[in-house]
């Protein structure tokens, strides 16, 4: 026995046992049981020693407590059966109230869950990759930052030890795939919107799943192509396409070496992948032409700065020699691309981080609204159960039990609401997916973690919402209740008003938000872009047509419905090439367009100074640039700008540079991309050989006629390939679709928020007017008109709304300003929206309250006063 344990601690434990026992049982039982224990304890102290006796005592007490616990559990469950029965009975008695309450909460929960799932979906892009946190995109600080030259990508994996693998992507859009039909001379044509030439190391870096074919060898040989499952199904149906031959752009043939599944949420959308080696050794090792995005894989532990420095050092000299400039490289992590990387000329998809945040906040706001509603309605209704409370107390319930009873009811309500929320979610999921352009599955709802969250969340809402009513209601004094005294409860009223204030503020903010977003979208869609984007067809020439471009243009122009035709290397909305010039000690980047002189006419780009390219002047083809206003500003050129000569080695989109360029004209700035983006500095030069994108302006009065003429000319020149084109304004429209979506979503949320608030109002006002039935009856008897009674009862709410406005307006202002700062060109915040939203709220309130009030105001006073 350890004698070091002091007398003091022994006494402590004995007393502890005593208090433990006392806590379980009443006085009488305690006396008996503790006496028995003490008797034996004393005996054992003497016979077996202090320590043994103490341990024995503790074990006995613990045993007793466990039994008591089991008992109370058993009885607790018995009581719950009664509570549940009561809860359902109450619900069916007050079915109207129950429906409103549950509906409001169900909507709130459904909205919250859907938006949370959306946020979760958008946060998981690119995570299908095993090497997710080790993949980086290579870029340079100079120029665009995402396009680097092919030669760097070619060597970087072998030259730099810390880079394990690299893969280059060369984007080619709208390729034509043709396959030979069985037993006929005809070929079936398919358009492939996004095709990339990629290195064979693709599958080492990105975890793309292959359905047919071997990932190790699929892209090793030149003229191999790997297609996605959807494309394979379109072209070959259900058969295995391995080994089939495809004719590309009517120029050469490739063999299908694999079929891949479309990866789940990959930021690079692709339809086909060709082997990079097809492009040849020269292209592959070129150190000019900055047009090849490259991704690299790094090992587990790496020092980013070190690797970047290594790359820059390794290539510095050769790049300087080839381009006449210095380049610093940086590595951009994969995990930041989808949500945080939006740049000029990007080829990847983006999610909207800003929007995600807003949506998430709004989701919380609506959930809050719904819960607040729930609390309000439950409390209000509870006041009518005062009699039940009184009777229960008289019959023997204590406060603790009443609290448990009301909490149980509240949890049952919230569980019911949750079930309805689930039903709502399933019903709406399809449309939600379309609206938000995500792909949420019902199965996502049932993963282990989400189920846990649901259970926890529902219980929390039920418990939290039930807390206040439970405490408030169980505090009623049975005697005063049964006597019929009405407990006015000042604090209750204050709380109720406060909660309604919150609801209305949130709704008002949402309405203002919706109006502003719609306004912004409208503004952007209708703002003058600075050039004419309407009635312009854009299409790609085939390789075969390049030789006969001039005659193609002439043939097109024979028809008066074709106004003008131009060829270029890119359409205005997608810059393909980037260059940089060093002038006065600073290096400026800009986008380069290689065009023909008619380009400016087709797009109606306005000249500010100087002149356009002259068809007759051959010298205009070499080293002559036209800049836009922003370019002039960025470069810091001084007047007179026209005629300035800059001595730089510049690549005019070919492999052969010029030593100096002369500025022959300046055009006014125009929004070549949507209004989401600032205008970049642009340069135009005229250089045949790389122009294979056609832009045609047609007569707006006879669109179909013009199209058929163009198609006829095309068929004559290229009979084998179908004529495909798109309109430029369609393309721009798509940009605004996203904002429209946002506006629509916020609109829906605003409506729901207001709806929930209105539901709350409905419930409350119906209850309140019921409470005052007698008062209303008396007033009617004394001669009050319906109008006066109406005003009397709605006064309370009207004041609330005014107060809500004072809270909501400044908050809305702050929030909207922050959101609008995203857009370089904005419509501004309109005061009339604030006024409008307040009016909407007031009207909604008047309608709901008014309806309720009119019901009770119209009752015959005889009936209402009879109840005594």
């Amino acid at each position: 026995m350890n004698m070091k344990i002091t007398e003091h601690s022994y006494n402590f434990f004995v007393r502890l046992c005593g208090s433990l026992l006392r806590s379980i049982m009443d006085e009488a039982t305690f006396i008996e049981r503790s006496g028995d224990l003490e008797e034996v304890y004393q005996y054992q102290k003497v016979s077996s020693g202090k320590l043994y006796a103490l341990i024995w005592l503790l074990s006995q007490v613990i045993g007793t407590m466990l039994v008591a616990l089991a008992h109370s559990f058993y009885w607790g469950i018995a009581m719950f059966k009664n509570y549940i029965k009561t809860a359902f009975r109450t619900m069916s008695r007050n079915s109207g109230h129950a429906v409103i309450n549950v509906m409001g909460l169900a909507i709130g929960i459904a909205v919250f869950i859907l938006i949370s799932m959306y946020v979760h979906y958008e946060s998981g892009w690119d995570q299908f990759n095993e090497n997710y946190d080790r993949i980086y995109r290579l870029g340079t600080h100079e120029g665009n930052g995402t396009y680097i030259c092919a030669g760097v990508g070619h060597e970087v994996a072998t030259a730099i030890p810390q880079i394990l693998k690299s893969v280059r992507f060369r984007l080619r859009t709208n390729y034509l795939f043709q396959i030979q039909k069985e037993g006929s001379d005809n070929r079936e044509s398919f358009k492939v919107p996004q095709m990339f030439w990629v290195d064979s190391t693709l599958f080492d870096v990105f975890s793309i799943e292959m359905v047919y074919g071997d990932p190790q060898s699929a892209l090793r040989e030149p003229y191999s192509v790997v297609i996605t499952e959807p494309i394979s199904q379109r072209m070959f149906g259900t058969e295995n396409p391995l080994g089939r031959v495809i004719r590309v752009n009517d120029r050469y043939e490739v063999t299908v070496t694999g079929v891949v599944k479309v990866p789940d949420r990959f930021h690079i959308p692709f339809d086909a992948l060709g082997s990079y080696c097809t492009l040849g050794e020269t292209t592959s090792s070129r150190l000019t032409s900055w047009n090849t995005p490259t991704y690299v894989l790094l090992p587990e532990n790496h020092d980013l700065n070190e690797v970047e420095a290594n790359i820059s050092t390794y290539f510095r000299d050769r790049l300087r020699e080839a381009n006449g400039a210095e380049y610093t490289f940086f590595l951009f992590p994969l995990k930041n691309i989808y949500l945080r990387d939006i740049r000029m000329g990007q080829f990847w998809k983006n999610g909207d981080l800003q929007f995600m945040r807003i949506a998430f906040i709004i989701a919380w706001a609506i959930l809050l609204l719904a819960t607040v509603n729930f609390i309000n309605l439950t409390t209000a209704k509870g006041l009518t159960r005062a009699k039940e409370v009184g009777i229960r107390k008289v019959v023997g319930s204590d406060r603790k039990r009443m609290i448990i009873q009301f909490m149980t009811e509240s949890v049952i309500y919230s569980v019911t609401a949750f079930v309805f929320a689930l039903i709502l979610i399933f019903a709406v999921m399809e449309r939600f997916n379309l609206l938000m352009r995500v792909a949420i599955q019902p199965s996502d709802l049932f993963s282990f973690s989400t189920v846990v969250i649901f259970i926890a969340g529902t219980s929390t809402i039920g418990l939290a919402a039930g807390l206040y009513p439970a405490f408030y209601l169980s505090a009623f004094h049975p005697v005063s209740i049964l006597k019929g005294e009405k407990n006015r409860g000042k604090r209750a009223v204050l709380l109720r008003r406060g909660l309604m204030l919150l609801q209305f503020s949130i709704s008002i903010i949402l309405i203002i938000g919706t109006l502003t977003v719609y306004n912004q979208v409208h503004y952007m869609k209708n703002k003058d872009l600075g050039f004419n984007e309407e009635h312009i067809l854009q299409f790609r020439l085939t390789q075969g047509m390049r030789a006969s471009q001039a005659s193609f243009k002439n043939r097109l122009l024979t028809d008066s419905r074709v106004k003008s035709v131009a060829f270029s290397n890119a359409y205005p909305e997608s810059i393909a090439n980037f260059e940089s010039i060093e002038y006065k000690g600073e290096r400026t980047g800009f986008g380069m367009f290689t065009v023909d002189p008619d380009y400016f006419d087709v797009y109606d780009i306005r000249l500010k100074e100087g002149r356009f390219f002259d068809q007759t002047r051959e010298t205009d083809r070499i080293g002559k640039f036209i800049l836009n206003e922003t370019a002039v500003k960025e470069l810091g050129l001084e007047d007179p700008v026209v005629g300035t000569i800059i001595h730089n080695k510049v690549y005019e989109s070919t492999a052969f540079p010029v030593e100096a360029i002369e500025i022959i004209g300046v055009v006014k700035d125009f929004h070549y991309k949507s209004l989401h983006y600032d205008i970049w500095p642009l340069a135009f030069n005229w250089n045949p050989g790389w122009e294979f994108k056609a832009s045609v302006r047609i007569d707006p009065d006879d669109v179909s006629g013009a199209i058929s003429h163009i198609r006829a000319v095309w068929q004559e020149m290229t009979p084998a390939i179908p004529f495909e084109f798109h309109f430029m304004d369609e393309f721009l429209d798509r940009k605004y679709k996203n904002d429209e979506r946002i506006g629509r979503l916020i609109g829906v949320l605003a409506f729901l928020g207001l709806f929930i608030a209105a539901l709350g109002l409905l419930g409350l006002s119906s209850f309140l007017s019921q409470q005052r039935t007698k008062e209303i009856g008396i007033r009617k008897v004394l001669g009050a008109t319906f109008g006066r009674i109406f005003l009397l009862l709605t006064r309370e709410f009207a004041l609330l709304i005014v107060l809500a406005c004072t809270v909501a307006f400044p908050s809305a202002w702050i929030l909207l300003n922050r959101w609008l700062s995203n857009y370089p060109y904005r419509a501004g915040i309109n005061i009339s929206f604030f006024v409008a939203s307040a009016c909407i709220a007031i009207v909604a309130a008047i309608l709901t309250v008014g309806w309720q009030v009119s019901r009770s105001a119209n009752t015959d006073p005889v009936i209402s006063l009879r109840y005594e």
Partner: protein
């Protein structure tokens, strides 16, 4: 006839054996003496409470004593209901045991 569990039966029989001196501690000691098993207090009190509720046992207050820290003892007595429950159990027990071949139990 209300059924009683094995433990309840044991306790009732022990109380009868102890005649006027059956209380928590003595019941526990007697059971240990008879069966060799040590029961915790909890497993004494739980059946006792059940028996009290079934009115098969009554509780009588006794004298305070120093060994119990000045608290009273409570003595238990079996009621008629308890006695008839015991007899019932005994009869059923004998009937069920009769006819079991001796050889199996060796």
């Amino acid at each position: 006839m209300k059924a009683i569990s094995r433990n309840e039966e044991t306790i009732l029989l022990t109380i009868l054996k102890l005649e006027d001196a059956a209380y928590g501690v003595s019941i526990r000691e007697k059971i240990e003496e008879d069966t060799g098993d040590t029961w915790s207090f909890a497993s004494i009190y739980q059946p006792l409470d059940k028996l009290l509720r079934k009115n098969m046992v009554v509780k009588v207050k006794g004298e305070p004593s120093a060994a119990r820290g000045g608290k009273c003892k409570f003595y238990y007595h079996v009621t008629n209901a308890g006695k008839s429950a015991l007899l019932d159990m005994r009869r059923k027990h004998d009937q069920v045991w009769s006819g079991v071949p001796q050889i199996i139990l060796e």
